[in-house]
Each structure stands twice: as C-alpha cells, then as structure tokens.
Symmetry: D2
Subunit: 481 residues, 4 copies
C-alpha cells in the first residue's frame, strides 16, 4: 500500500506520545477538540489524493520504487515536479484555509537526498543509501514526516558552545557503536503530532569545534525521550466552547509543538550526518530553499480563501461594486498572485543535482519567501478594511444563538435582502480568525518566520546575487577597464 486513505491515516497516528498542554498530560490527543482541526488539515492531503479531480497534482510515480505515491513523499525529478509541488500546495491552502504541515518533511527529504550524496562523494560515507532506504519506507507507507530545524538558540550573539547552557542547540552527548545520544530541543514544530516521523537537522552552519552540533537524523515522533509541549495560539480555547461558530475556521487549523530531546538514542541506520560541519550549512540552505519555494504555493492558497471571504462580505454588505472596494480586492489578488509567481518561477528555473533530483532556483526561492514575509500582512489589512469594524466587535456565538438576545442581534446584523445573517456571521469569524486568530498566525506569523525570518532571506539574496556580473554589464557599456 503506497497510499493511505484518510481513515487509515487517522488510525495510523494514534500512538502513545508524551504530550503536554495547559500543564496537563494529554491522552489520546486525536480526540482533543483543540487538536482535531489541526489533524484535519494534514488529513486533507490524504483525502485530496483519493480525488480523481486532483490526482494530477497529488500523485506521482516514485523514482525509487516506480509506484504511484503521494507527491508529499516525492523526491522531485523534473521541473514539472517542482511546479506541481507548488500547485499542490496552493490547492491544499485553498481547501483548508490554513497551514497543513506536510511540507517540512518533504522539503527536508529533498534537501537530504542531495546533501547525503555530496557528503558520501567527499568522505566515502554511506549516508545516501541509508537515507534512500529510510525514505523508501516513507513512500511505501505513505507517511507524514516533519522536518525539525529550529533550536532555541539562547543568546543570539553567541555560538552554541558559548551559551550558558550547551543544550540550547541540539547536540550529540554520547556515541557508541550502535548509534548516538542527543540532547536539546527543536521549537516551532508545525504539525508534529500529525507526523509519523521527523527529520532532525542542524539550525545553522557549524564551524570547526562544533562537530557535535552537526548532526542530522530521522526519528519517530513518539520516540522515547521526547517531551512535547503544545504551543498556545490566539483564540485556541474557542474550540472548547459549546458552539464552534466562533472558531472561525471550525474544520481546519494547525498546531506548533515545543519538542524536547532528553538524551534520545538514535541508531546508526537513522543517522544522515554526524560531524561533517562543512555540509551542515548545505542542509540548512537546501532545506530552506525548498521550503521558501513551498510558501509561494501554500500561502497563496490560504490567500485565496481570505480574498474569497472578503469578496463574500463585500457582497453581503452590498458594496462589492463600489470602486474603492473593487480596487482593494484587485490589490489583494495582485499581491497574492505575485507570491504564487515567485513560487512558480523558482520552480521553472530549477536545476538537477548530481544526485539526480531537481532543486528550485535558490535566489528566486529566497525572493519568493521575502515577498511572503510582507504581502500576507498587506492582504490581511485590506481584508480587515473591507470587512469593517464588525470583525473586532461582533458579540459571541452564544449571544447570537441565545433565545433571549439572539433575535435582537440578528435583526441588527441583517444587511442586503436575501442574505443569511448566520452566513455573514460565519464569514466574519473566518476573517477574524485569519487576521487575529489561529489561522492568522499561520497566514501572517508563519509567513514571516517559517523557513527563516526575513533577514535570513536577505543574507541569502546577498550571497546569490552576482554583483560582479552586474558591475561588468555597466563596465562593458561604459568601456571601463
């Protein structure tokens, strides 16, 4: 079986894990009302894969096994693959209105596929075959995999070993013939609970003397020694309320986990880098490159839902044809499609690595992500503008549905003839959620910091931009030198 049904997926994640939320240990997280919608988002990737209408995007033939697999498990092997990856992500965003968290593992795998090859070539190691075997299992079992990169980092002005606590960057604390023992933490782990496995990578380029920090491995999300703490999100507890109307997006969402590694043993067969500091940066950059490409797809997909909701509210309020409203909707489209364009462009100009897989064009992937750190904020502001102050002042669903006060509220929330007040209520909450609530964090905050904060992209752009070439164009025109 290389494709799980949504139902099989749901069963597959029911594992005993060491998870805390609100200071309490959580049992059967898959039944927790705060967590359920976040699982639904990832589940959507299994659902759409069953839908013939979307299989052109969702399915692909594995270059390893030749079997048809979910594209989220694929090692891209053509320009077309790279483009369809982005389009699949946009489709997922359109169907969930939020992050769906199946990309980090895909992007990590595509990075590791070529980096392990390159390490082996230089050092004669055997990481690539090891990783290929590991990933073949992922493809054959249609697993969801997380990619874990961000360490807590402590004092940002200091190197890992200069920290007061050496564990502020994850590192090897012990080693024997069978494997290694690691300690540290990986934070901001989007969709960790929805994943079967996680690929753990270093967070920065390591330097000589920091070999114990240059470590990369695969591990199950329920591995012994892991402690998971569920991150809060704005309005999270609305999901615990009786009615789900105020959740905004009652079906989908995403979570972030703070993952602590307390002396976790990693067997040799799951280790994909151990001390090769000269390749630690390569893992980071290639992963970041793929992940920055991803954002051109997923965020424009979520953008589509916010634009749709805004257009709906304009329609409900009778202002859809007002010139200034029309103009703002056009601006939202323009910004959103610019994001998508950058995702497509870095794919279309991708190239083949020596390992055989295809990688997006690095400069444009960084340009893509840098736009993603800006435009969703503008799109969100325009949505708030058109939707009106009511998204910030709307009484609760309990008021709306109360026998006593509900009718009065509905009387005064009515707009155009024939409009449903309840639908207007729902769409307003959807917009509130995407601007100030849970999915807003996903649409804005994650756009800002996911796959690296803006400054990380600027540094990469500076490196990739060939200023000397540009100087040469001018010198040639001006007969200089």
């Amino acid at each position: 079986m290389t494709l799980m049904t949504p139902e099989q997926y749901m069963e597959s994640i029911k594992k005993d894990i060491n998870l805390y939320m609100f200071g309490e240990k959580i049992k059967e997280f898959w039944n927790h009302p705060i967590i359920i919608p976040t699982i639904n988002s990832t589940k959507k990737s299994y659902e759409l894969a069953q839908n013939p209408e979307h299989q052109d995007l969702m399915l692909v033939k594995s270059h390893i096994t030749g079997e048809t697999i979910n594209r989220f498990c694929h090692i891209h092997h053509s320009i077309e693959d790279l483009i369809k990856k982005v389009q699949m992500q946009r489709l997922m965003g359109q169907n969930t209105g939020c992050c769906f968290a199946r990309c980090p593992g895909m992007d990590a795998a595509n990075s590791l596929y070529s980096v392990t090859y390159d390490i082996d070539k230089k050092y004669g190691s055997n990481y690539h075959e090891r990783f290929k075997k590991y990933w073949t299992e992922v493809q054959q079992q249609d697993l969801c995999v997380d990619g874990a990169m961000t360490d807590p980092k402590g004092d940002r002005s200091k190197r890992p070993k200069e920290q007061t606590d050496p564990d502020l960057f994850l590192h090897i604390i012990e080693e024997n013939n069978d494997g290694i023992v690691v300690r540290g933490a990986k934070i901001h782990q989007t969709g960790f609970l929805n994943s079967h496995r996680v690929l753990v990578m270093p967070t920065i380029t390591m330097r000589p003397g920091e070999e114990e920090y240059a470590v990369c491995f695969g591990i199950d999300t329920n591995a012994k020694g892991l402690t998971l703490i569920y991150g809060r999100q704005p309005c999270d507890t609305r999901k615990l309320e009786e009615t789900k109307l105020d959740v905004g997006n009652p079906k989908y969402g995403m979570h972030e986990i703070f993952v602590i590694f307390e002396d976790v043993f990693i067997p040799n067969e799951n280790i994909f880098m151990k001390g090769e500091i000269d390749y630690s940066g390569e893992i980071v950059q290639r992963f970041a490159g793929f992940h920055r490409q991803s954002y051109g797809g997923c965020k424009s997909g979520v953008g589509d839902t916010l634009i749709g909701a805004t257009a709906l509210i304009a329609e409900y309020n009778g202002i859809e044809r007002a010139s200034h409203v029309r103009d703002k909707l056009v601006e939202m489209i323009h910004l959103n499609e610019t994001l998508y364009s950058c995702g497509i462009a870095c794919s279309a100009l991708g190239f083949q690595r020596e390992a055989g897989n295809y990688e997006e064009e690095m400069l444009l992937a960084n340009v893509c992500k840098l736009n993603v750190t800006r435009f969703p904020y503008d799109i969100a502001r325009l949505a708030e503008d058109i939707a009106g102050g009511i998204i910030m002042t709307l009484p609760s669903a309990a008021d709306f549905q109360s026998d006593e006060i509900g009718p009065l509220l509905k009387k005064y929330l009515a707009t155009c003839e024939g409009m449903s007040v309840e639908e207007r209520y729902k769409v307003l909450r959807f917009i509130e959620n995407l601007t100030y609530g849970q999915t807003g964090v996903s649409f804005k905050g994650e756009s800002l910091h996911g796959a690296g904060s803006p400054q990380a992209q600027r540094i990469m752009i500076a490196r990739q931009a060939n200023f000397n070439n540009k100087k040469d164009y001018v010198k040639k025109i001006l007969d200089i030198e």
Copy 2:
C-alpha cells in the same frame, strides 16, 4: 467636586445595566474578570489626573465654570488646548498600552458645542444652552461620556428608509411635548460600560425626507430600553484562566459594546438636534475631525509600548545592536512619530469656531487618521519580525508554571545571561497581545475603522484639498489664462 478619585470613579460606575455576554445576563459587570482590565484603562484617566507630574496635561480650567477639570471634560479653547489634548492621549496610551475610551465623548462634546451654536443661529432654536447645561454637569461631576455614532447600516448601497428594516439606522419613532422615542442600534461602542453617559449622533449626512434620522441626544448608559451585548475579542477568555500571564496585558484592555435602543424615551432637555438635516453632516464631520486628531495621540502612545516591548525582546535575545534590528526599531519610531506629528500639526493649525471653541484643522486631521490606518500595521509587523516566531508558538502559562514541565520549558527559553525567563515570557505575551490579541484589535483594527474607515478619510481629503488653488499656482507659473 470636579475631580473624582480613581476610587470614586470605580464606585460611580456600579449601576444596574442590561448587559449580556456569552448569551448570559451579566450582574455586577465591574467584578467580571473579562471586563475589569477594560475599566482600568478608563480609570487611568482619573489616576493620572491625581498625579502632579502629569497635571499640566491632565487638568485644565473650564471655560464655563472656571473650575479645574479633567481635560477629558474640556471644551478646547486655544491651540495649546488642542495640542495638550493630543499629548494627554499619548500619555494615556503609554500608560495603558491600549485604548482607554474616554475620547469619544470629549470629541462629541466639542463637535456639538459649535454645531448646536450654528443651528441655533440659523433656526433660532435653543440647543446650545441646553447642551452647555448638560455638559456643565459632566464637568462638575467629572463624568466619563461615550460618543455613539455608528449604526448597523444594513445594505450599504441603500439609504436609511430604503432598508428592509427601517431600524437599521437609529431614528425617532414617536414624539410628544416632553420628548421623543427612538429605536435602532449603535454598534462598536468602545468603553460604553465605563461611561456614565453617552452622546448619540447620526452616522451620516441625512437628506430631505430623512428628518427622523437626524437626531442627536444625551442619555445615561443605564437608561431604560437599552440592551447591551458585549463584543468578543481574540483571546478574551484568557482572562478567565487561573493565571493571568497569558493575557499579555493583564492590567489594561478595552471592550466594544453592541447597544440596542428599544423604544427609548429622550426628554427634551437632552435633545441637541431633531430633524435639522442640514446640520447632521456637520456633527459627523466635526466629531470625526476631533476624533481623527485624537488618534495621532493615543495610537502613538500605544505604539510606544509596542516599540518598548520589541526593544526589550531584542535586548533579552542579545540582538539589540544588530544592524538590521536597529534599523527596524528606527523604522518603528519613524512611523510612530509620523502619526504623532500629524496629530500635533492639525492641532497647531486649529481655528476658532463662532461658538468660541477651538477646532483642529480638518484636512490634516484626516491625513492624520489615514496614516493611522496604515502605520500601526507596519509597526506591528516589524515587532513580530524582531520578536521572532516564538510569539506564535509559546506554550501556555500553565505549562510554564507547571512543576512537571515548567523547568524544562524554562531551561530552553533562557537566553542571555542574567535575563529573567519569566520576564521574557511576559514581554512575548505582551507583543502577542498587541498583534493578535485584545489590544491588537485596539492598536490595529480600531486604528483602521475607528473615527471612520480609510475611505471616509479619503472622501474628506478630496473635499478639503483645494484642487483649484493648486491648478492656479501652475497656471500662474505657466502664464495660462
């Protein structure tokens, strides 16, 4: 007594009102944990007035009684008054980190003061004296007054009487010798519960045939016939949680009330306009003008706290001197001070009305507010940028304080030597709150829509800008005509 102490103020608002929240009737709202911080914000205006250090801004001599009053009760009578008003608002914003809701009534009173004068002059009515008497009571009792303008408005493409339900704009439904009866609703009522009285104004310029909608009056906030419904805000229920750490700003906040007028009787002495449609637009414009001026003060005050919190986080993370962080902090200051500059400028160029009071320069007040609809969003994005992804993924205070999981979390949230992890936690929540939480709604959403949405300012700017003058400058230079 023309100055209440904070304690007297607290006593003074304990009145029986018809308030609903989460579908339930609320008794003793002043004890409700969701509401308390919002009362604190208004209370701060009484508190600072007692502080000699701030009395130059907070106190002023009444032009009516000659007594020293809180500036929030003042009818401005000089340029200096106008400037100090803005500075008082900035001070309040700096001390609360959110909206404090004592401005709408002040701004409404300053509008009505001159409009009633002008109506009387044209129609020989007696509104001005009536209003002066009403407002003298406010000054003498140091009352907090709300200003209520926004109607639900239904289908925005239709006039009040064309609506399916004529009550979608508040109007007179009955009239007798003693007064009038009104029906309708006023929404987005910021700080209504903290106010003793409310000045109710029309929401748009009324036209012939719409006289019943051209109505303006004063009323107590606990008047018979009023139904109040408390508006939801992101993260509101965090205030119900055991620990207040996750509230972000545990001391201050602001609420929005949906106020319904069911056949409310208004005695003649509290009526300040009744059918004078040609002055309905004047009330709106002058109120909006004063209120748009206000935003140059209050929002830059809140901006100061967000900039401060961001600088603190940068310090905690060891990156305060990084050039890109420094540059972003400078940009935040620049934007924030531009807002303030516009508030000061429209004050400095104010003028005297025939009634004797001073009004800000209208064009620049609209320019001020239009900047306020933009820059807080940019400031907030920069804050999120510097603060990092952790503001979106931080586990709960319950986790942070749990015996079991807390120590682990604290270990990995530590940054620079000597920094307090708990303080870092607090500041991160403060920033989260100002960007995605309750005060974020106040800093961003209210900046966008309060005192009119951006398009309202654009319309006023178009009207105030003298294009013909500008054309004439060019014609003169070019010898045209």
Copy 3:
C-alpha cells in the same frame, strides 16, 4: 538568409522616410547623433544572435520554415519558448541598459497569429494564411517589426465617433477592391525608425457601429502617407555635445515616434482584421498579455545594469560593506528579481492556443506588468540614495575635461585610493541617465505606461481573477449553501 549580421541590419534600415525632429526634416536619420544610439540598441539583437555564447537564447527553429531564426521573429511554440523569450529580453537589457524595441512586433505577431485563426474559424475569412505569409517574409528576411497600438484618444471620456475629430482614433476612411485607406495616428512608437515594418492594431475594444475602427494591418515604416515626428527625451541634446561623457549611456538609447497616417493605402494582402469588432478586444488583450510578459525580462535586465552601477559607486566611495548600503542593494535585487519571477511564472504556466502557438498565462502577465509599474521606481530611488547628491550636481564633461578647471575638479572628485575619477564620473552619469535622463524614461516611464498604464492591468486582473471560485473555497470550509 534568415539571419542578418549587424552590418546588414544597419544597411537595411537606410530608407527614405518622412521624419521630423526639432521642426526640421531629417535626412539620413541613421547618421544623426541623437538617433544612432537608439539604433544600436536594436542592432544588439542582431549582434548577440551571432554570438555562440548566446545563441541558445537568441536563436530558434521556425515552426513555419524549419529554419533557424532570430527569436524576436518567432511564433512561440512551447513553454520553453516562452521562458527563453523572457530570458533573451533580460540578456538584451543587461547588454544595452535600456529599451531595445524589438519586442512590440514580436508580441503583436504572436497575438495576431492566434486571433486571425480564431476570426477565420468564426467568419470563414482568410486572415490567418495571409498573416502567416506576411510573417514568413519577416522570418526569412530577419526583419525588425514594430507593433503600433496607441491612438491619441482625445477626450478619454468619449468613444471614437463622439470625438470632435473622428481621426483621433485611426480608422478606415475609404475602401475598394484592392484595399483600404486609413487615417489617424499612432503615438508612443518605440523604435519605429529601427523597424522595417509595423503591425498596426486597434487601441481598444470596438463596439457595434465602430467597425471602421476595428482594423489591423501590416505596413512598411517608410510607407507613403506616413509622417513621423521624433519625441523629445530628457537630456536628448547632450548627444549633440562635443564629448559624449554626459550622455550617461553613450552607446545605447531608445526613441519614441509620433506617427501620423494621412490617408494611407493598405492593400488587401496586408490586412489582418477589417470590421470584426468582436475580435478587436482580443487583439488588444493578447498583444498586451505578451507585452506585459516581456517587461518581466527587459526591465529586470535594465535593472541589473542600474544595480551594477550602484554597487560600483558604493565600491568607489568605500561604502560597499556599510550595512545600510548592503541592505539597500539587497532590496534592489529583491525587487528586480520579483519582476523577473513574474515574467518567468506567466511563461511557465502558458498554454497552447487552437492555432498551435503558445501564449503566456494572462492573469500572471498582468500581475507582472503591474509590479513593473512600481518596482523600477523603487529601484531607481535606492540607486539615487546610494549614489548620493553628486548625480544631481556634477559639473559638465566640458568642465571635467577642461585644462583650466578639470584638474581642480578631478582633485575633489577623487575617492578611494586607486579609483579612477573618470570611471566614477562615467558611472555617475550612467545613473543620472537611468533616473532622470533618456534611459530613465525607458526604465521608469515606459515601465509605467508601456503595454498599458497600471489601471489597464488592474482591469484585466479583476477580470481574470475568479472571485467566485475563491468564494466557493470559503463556502465549502464553512458549510455555506
């Protein structure tokens, strides 16, 4: 011969034309110092085609004749063709630092190729074969072709026939068995003098009753009845000065011609539309689509030279590593690559027309152009910022080279040790030229208005954006309807 050498091209344009400049009739325009650099720009397309290093981009096999042709004469027949078109344009921009004007005819031909096919299909006419024959000659002779669209348009609030003068839109004024006679004007004709032929198209969608305005044809640029008036550009007469140092870009430039059609006869074989009003808009849109795609290439190419010049000046001034300079250079790259990304993306997602040729994705092409109307202005401002006030205050080349005053000037224009003052002078003039001079018009003004002003793109974006689809995503998530 399907490829002309640069020398053959130079000979080929030496034709008797009816051209005026500064009120004088110009003979042998190819020897005029103001015009020479503008011819050089187009000539570069012949030059690069001879260079093996660039032939992958510059050459392609004709789908009509199977012969190798210059890509500027190509009817695109694959996604790869569309992408390489954009890359060829970037290459040209990098090599000229300005507009090179061989795109309009290419873009017009690609529009007409499919529109004539569609007209024939509906009306049984024979335009497509006629056009194919016409274009085969272009390919076989390696001609440069202009595309002429913009009419003077008179009072923009009126339709063609409502104008005081019906000639303000070009129209058919006579018709017989052999052909038609047209009258009117086409303005903003970039590179008209460098072109052998011109494809004339309608400027807007025509309506019933406006058939005489729905006309499209090919004509030689030296046809009888044409009057050409050379457009002024800032600093144009610097090219008449003794030294060329102040020209900024002494080798390349571009011109704009005001072309008047006084009763010009068009034989039937060169007519590609005559009265088919329902396809007049199609010609406009498809041409505009191709041309908006083009701008993603050419303008980012010019952008490269401006970035290069700015980096050079920073180097000359010893500030290339200053953090704020570095940051601005990165921003310039970011904006420039965003333009390119949009050009690539609309190409990568192109589609095949029924006629067999490939067309770019229309929505993204408009998004591309809308960014082009903004970012070059930002890039130019950043260039001015880094280059410093000296680009506006630099004395003339005559001063610089004078025996008397030159040495003093050079003494004080010296910067870092080892830098050549003369090179600094040249690069400063190059930047001045791209921001305030001739090529600035090409980099900024043409970016703004070429292929349609911003509002034209906004209208197309509104049409192409499927708001209903976006509403449906939300409805599905919210179970609406």
Copy 4:
C-alpha cells in the same frame, strides 16, 4: 533699508565672480539664460515680501534691531516664528514650483546663533557677539545667504586626515593674528550665485586631532580664492533653445555649484568656530535640524504645483472624475500634507535655547525629513501615472510651433472640446520637468539628499528616540523589576 525690492536685489548680485560652466568662464552670469530662472526663484522671496497679501508670512520684526525684516533673515524667537517659517517656505514653493535656495543661510544662522552662545559659555570666547554683528548686517541689508556644509569626503570609510588628499575636507592650512587661510571644497551649493554671502560649516563631528577641520566662518560669495563650477542638470540646455516651451518651468529653477576654496583668507571677525571640536557636531545637528524642518514646507509647496499640474492634465483629458484618477490625486494630497504636517509638528513643539532663540523639536524634524526622502518620489510617480506616456514621448516645441508639422501635431494632441492644445503642451512639459528635468532634481533628488541623506536621519532618530523610556512603560504595565 531693511527690505530690498526685487529690482534692488537683481542689482545687488551683479558681482564679479569666478564661475565656470561647460568649461568656459562665465561673465555676467545674471544674463545667462541657464542661470536667469534660478535667480528668479530667489528673487521671488523679495517679491512676495512686497506683497501685502503675504507679509504676515514674509515679514517679521528683528529681535536684534526691532526693524521689520524679511523672515529669511530672521532668528526665530517663538513657536509662531517656527511655524510661519514653514508656511513661508510652502508659499515660496507654490509660487516657484521649485527650490528657491534662501533657506540654507537662514538655517545656518539659526544654528550658529545658539552654538556660538554655547561655545562662548564654555570657553569664554566671543563668537556670539561676532556672529550677531555679522548677522545684523545681513538683516539690515536684506541679504541672501548660503549655508555651506558638504565636503567632497573622498573615501567615506576614512577620517579627514586619513584621506590620500587632506583637502577632501575643508580645513585651516595657515593661521596668523588677523585670521586664517582655508583650503578645500564645498559641493552641492544650492543657489550659491544668488547669495551675497555664505556661512561655511564643518560637514561632520570632528574628533581630537582634527581641530583644523572644525572651522566655521562667513565669507562673501565673490571672495578671492573661490572657484565656482556650475553643476549640470537634466535638460539644462533646453533653456538655450529658441523657444522656452520645452523648459517646462520657464520662469523658475535652481542651480548647484561646486565651490573650491584655494587658500582663502578669512579675517578674524568672520570666524565663528576655530578648533572647538566638541561643538562641530552641534553646528551640524542644529543646522540639519532647522533644514530638515524647512523641507516640510518647501517640498510640500512644490508638491502643490505638481498636484495642480496633474489635476489640470486630468481635466484636459476628460478623466478628472474617473474613480482611479480621483483616488490617485487624493493619495498625492495625503502624502504631500503628511510632509507638511511633520514640518508643522516639529515647529509647534519647538523649544527655546539658552541664547534666547527658538529651535524646532529635533526628533520630529528628522522624521519630517525622512518622509521627505520618500513621498515626493511617490507623488511624482502618481503624477506620471495620471499624465500618461505622452510626457515621455511628446515632440519638441520646435515641431509644435513649426508651420509645416505643427498643425498636424496639434490636430492629434487635441483632447476635450474647448481645451487649448498649447496649454496642454505646457502643462505636460511642466510635469516632465518636475519628474525628469531640472525641477525634478529639486523635487526628488534634493529631497533625498539635501539636509543629509536618509541614513543621516535614521542615525539621528535612533539617538533621539528614548528607547529606555519606552521599555519602562512596558515594564510598569507588566510589573517587571
């Protein structure tokens, strides 16, 4: 006589100076067609002072002599003075459509007035009285004074004495009982030829060991040892053409002079600082502060003419009421008035120096100027947008006026009924000039770099912003420490 008439002013500047332009020595510069319009701009300050309608702004009573003087000669002595200064500058901008260059000396004098006082207080020197005497002459003779600050600076990464050539910063090379001899250059000297005198100041804060560079003095603009080289501007030579129609702004303009000091003797009575390095930075900062305030006035005045011209073109083209045109005009107003607001605000919050004079608020003055480095560019882009491509492609005035070709051109440049084609022509050239021509340099480039480039303002903003205060607000709210 404390007020010169315009005619007297014209006579007063006819002095023998050592000026070069285009490599030639210029005699009687006041008759040179390139220079005349630039003199007109300054002359306007004498003209408006004679106009009763404007004397409230243009005239003021000297605090030294008690006589009525031109405000450009005033040492500001109240908040009202500071505000009226900005309003006078806006008036001048509206009347000239460009820079008028009488501000630098006014701003320098207001800086020196208090700095000399402070130096004397610390060192017991006598600079203040000396300066007061010097400036009393200026007031009594109604002189125009330049303020010269910018040195060539060579390698920006090095200090003055580290330069290959020590003269790249102006310095004292000799000293005796009667005075000093200086060598160096001051560049970007706006309006130098229109000025009778110039106040020369250091360009940066000097450090110990750099005393010879910490020098400040007054000098006549025709002093012995000065060599002046006239800076080129885009389209400068259009003023030499037969018709003045293509100049754009045929009456007004401004020049920039490269001024070289070859061993110039300065008598003691004109020296206002000599080696007091600890006050060199104060001169720079206070001058820059006043000058950054100025830009809020003059540039918004020029902005008014560009907005007026754009509105005129929209009217001529029949699109003034189109919603997108209206919206862009509103945006132009908004940006322009934001500039003005900042100029007014820093004035309204000014303070008194110990010397008795008033100075603007420094933080807001820097905020003002930083906005000035941005918004004129946006305003200019919007002007180009509305005006259309024709501003870049319009044939020459010689064509327009030619008997042969003129009528054809006029036929096709006609727009709305009743509009004058010639007026349209003039206004288009006016806009071209303000975006790409001479006055464009003044509206954009000078806005960017005059009174210091953007980074200079950012550094000052960082210094003036009290981050600790802002942190304290947050700490107080969060009970930190």
